[in-house]
Symmetry: D2
Subunit: 164 residues, 4 copies
C-alpha cells in the first residue's frame, strides 16, 4: 500500500490570480506544487488538476468526477483543494461515494499568490490530517480539523465552525 498522498485540485480562491490583460481575476495554474516545494515536502505526493472552478460553479457531474477519481486512485490518503463556499457539499458526496479512504478538503480565504495568505498553513494542516486521521472525510480550515459532515462556513465571520 502506497504512503504517497494524492492531491486533487479543483480551483477556488486558493488558486486565483489576476490577469492584467483582462482586468480580472481568474483561477490560474495551480499554486499547490510551488507551495509544496517551498515547504520542502519530502513525502511522496502526486498532483492531479481536475478542474479550475469557483466552487459556486461546481456541478453534480464535477462532484461525481472528484469522487470517482478519489475512489479509483491507488492512494488511500487524498487531499482535495476546493473553493470554500460549497466545500461541505462536496464533502457529503465524498462521504457517500468513497468509503475506506482518508480524504481531506482544504482551500483558502486569501489566494496563495497573495503575500499574506492562509494557503500554506491550510495545506500543512491537510497534509498532517491525511497522514494521521482515520478513514473518513475531513475539512481542514481556520486552523482546525473538522468532521466533514459536521461543519459549515460562516461567511460573515470568515471562518469554518462546527455544527451539531
Amino acid at each position: 500500500m502506497t504512503r504517497s498522498i494524492l492531491i486533487l485540485t479543483t480551483g477556488g480562491t486558493i488558486d486565483k490570480s489576476y490577469f492584467d490583460a483582462l482586468s480580472e481575476y481568474q483561477i490560474a495554474d495551480s499554486a499547490i506544487g510551488s507551495l509544496l516545494k517551498e515547504a520542502r515536502v519530502a513525502l511522496p505526493f502526486r498532483i492531479v488538476e481536475l478542474m479550475r472552478k469557483d466552487s459556486l460553479e461546481l456541478t453534480d457531474a464535477d462532484r461525481a468526477l472528484i469522487a470517482a477519481t478519489a475512489r479509483e486512485a491507488a492512494e488511500t490518503r487524498i487531499i482535495v483543494t476546493h473553493g470554500t463556499d460549497t466545500m461541505t457539499e462536496t464533502a457529503k458526496v465524498l462521504a457517500q461515494e468513497v468509503p475506506g479512504k482518508t480524504i481531506v478538503l482544504t482551500g483558502a480565504l486569501s489566494p496563495a499568490r497573495f503575500a499574506e495568505s492562509d494557503a500554506s498553513f491550510n495545506l500543512g494542516l491537510a497534509f498532517a490530517t491525511a497522514q494521521v486521521a482515520a478513514p473518513g472525510v475531513w475539512i481542514a480550515m481556520s486552523g482546525e480539523v473538522f468532521d466533514g459532515l459536521k461543519v459549515r462556513k460562516d461567511r460573515d465571520a470568515g471562518k469554518f465552525v462546527e455544527v451539531d
Copy 2:
C-alpha cells in the same frame, strides 16, 4: 478539558531575523503569532515564549523547563517550535517527562521572515497533528508526521527521515 492549543516557542531558524545595525542574524521576536493570524486560525491557542536559542545552545536545564511547562499546563495538546539540529533530543526528554499529552515539535529550515519559507506549512502540519494524533511526542517536518523517537535530521539532504 480545554480544546485550546499551547504553543511553546524556544527559538531556532524559524524565528531568525537580520539586524542591520549588528550585521548579523539573531533570533528575534517570535513570528509565530503573525503566522497564525495570517492563517486565520480560529481555534483557541496560547503562545508562551520560553527562550530564544539556536537549538545547538539548548542545555539540559532548558529542556527541563520545556518539559515542566508542558507538563504543568492546562492544555493537553502542545506545539513546541524549536531549532532543527537538536529537535530529536528534546523529543526524547519530552517523551520521558510528559506522559498523556499530545506534543508536536516543529520548526523550519528557512526563517519565517523569508518570502519563501517552510514555516507556515510546518505550523499547519503541527496544528493538525496536535488535534488528531494520539498522546505521545511527534515531529512534524518535511511534510511528514514522524514518531518523535523514530526520526533524525539528515543535514546534508535538508530533510527529516524515519529511522528504525
Copy 3:
C-alpha cells in the same frame, strides 16, 4: 519650498485586493503606505487618497480633481498611483493643467498584495523620478522613465512602450 513628496492614490490594479465574503476583487485600502514603510523611506511624504477606481472608470471630473489637487498642493514633486489602462489620458490632462511641477504616474500590472508584484519597484522608480526629473509629466513603468506624452501601454505585451 518643501522637499516633501505628495502621493495621490486613485486606485488601479496596484491596490486591488480579494474579498472572500463577496467572492470578488475590489480596490481596497491603499497599500502604498505599507510599501513605503517596508522600503524604509526617510524622505518626508504625504499620502492623499483621492478615489478607489479601476482606471477604465475614471471620469473627466475625476481627472479634473486629480489635476486641481496637484496644482493646489504645496508640494512641487508629486506621484500619482493609477490604473494602467488610462494612465496616459490622465498624463495629458496633468500636462495641460499643472505647469511647473514634476508629476510622476505609476501603478502596477500585478497587485501590491501579491507575493510577486511590480508595485514596490515601480514606486521606487517613481520616487527617484519625482526627485531627479525636470518639471513635467512622467510615467514610471516597466523599469523605464517615459515622457508622459510619448508612451502607450501595449496590453498584449504587458508593458509600456515609447511612441514617437
Copy 4:
C-alpha cells in the same frame, strides 16, 4: 550609444541568504535578476556579478575592480549593488576613477529574500536615477537620491542622511 543599464553586484545585505546546513547566513546567488523579472522590467539591462562580500570586507583591490569594470563598460548608466556599511567609500573611488558616467549605488537594510525588504523599492529608485540623473555618482537609499559624496549611513537610525 546604448540605452542598456549595467548592474554590477558586489554582495551586501541585499543578497544575504540563510544556509541551514551551515546554520549561518552568507551572501548567496544574487537576487537582483529575480527582482527585475518580478518588476517586469522591459528596459534592456546586463548583470555582472563581481564579488559576494559583506561591504566591511571589501579591499582596495575590490574597489579598483569595480571602478575598472564601470569605466571599461559600453554602458554609460551603471547600478552597483553594495553592502551599506562602506557604500560611501566606494562612491568616492568611483567619483575619482569613472568620469562621465551616471553611477548609482544601492543596497538594502533587509535582505531581498525576506518577505519584508527595501530591496525592490531601492532597485527601482536606482533604475530611475540611472536613467534620469546627470553623470556623477549617486546613492539611492532610504527613499532618497543623494549626491554620492554628500551622504553618510546613520547606523543607529537605520537610514542614510545628507551631510554638508
